[in-house]
Subunit: 80 residues, 2 copies
Amino acid sequence: MSYVLAIITAFSSSNVKEITLKARGQAITTAVDVAEITRSRFLKDLKVSSIAIGTAEMPPREGETKSRMVSTIEIGMQKP
Amino acid sequence: MSYVLAIITAFSSSNVKEITLKARGQAITTAVDVAEITRSRFLKDLKVSSIAIGTAEMPPREGETKSRMVSTIEIGMQKP
């Protein structure tokens, strides 16, 4: 809900027309939830303008030697 | 990896040009992973043709009375 509030706050500024949510790994589900909750409950005129998925390389965790690949998502949301 | 294999198998049939991955809730991350792994490691000419997000209503779990809203994703993948 703090992400939803951040989006509402950003859009309440009159010069903000579009924001992009970015997430990777397990947070991808959270990003989709945030976009859906914002759009269905709060800012009903908001449109999802773009969705892109990709892969990012993360440095190895402590004690590991290989870097890991994680999926990413970018969700653009636009005021009419 | 079993989902990746299912996609490769589907596309190996010559009359399949497009498949759609559908997932909801925590499985959204898995769907993005599956799309990215298939595209980056196995079928490199595959294109993501569409991505849509939405909300679905799920019946209440045992012992609960309210239905829950879950986020959904649909990822379309296309052969050239």
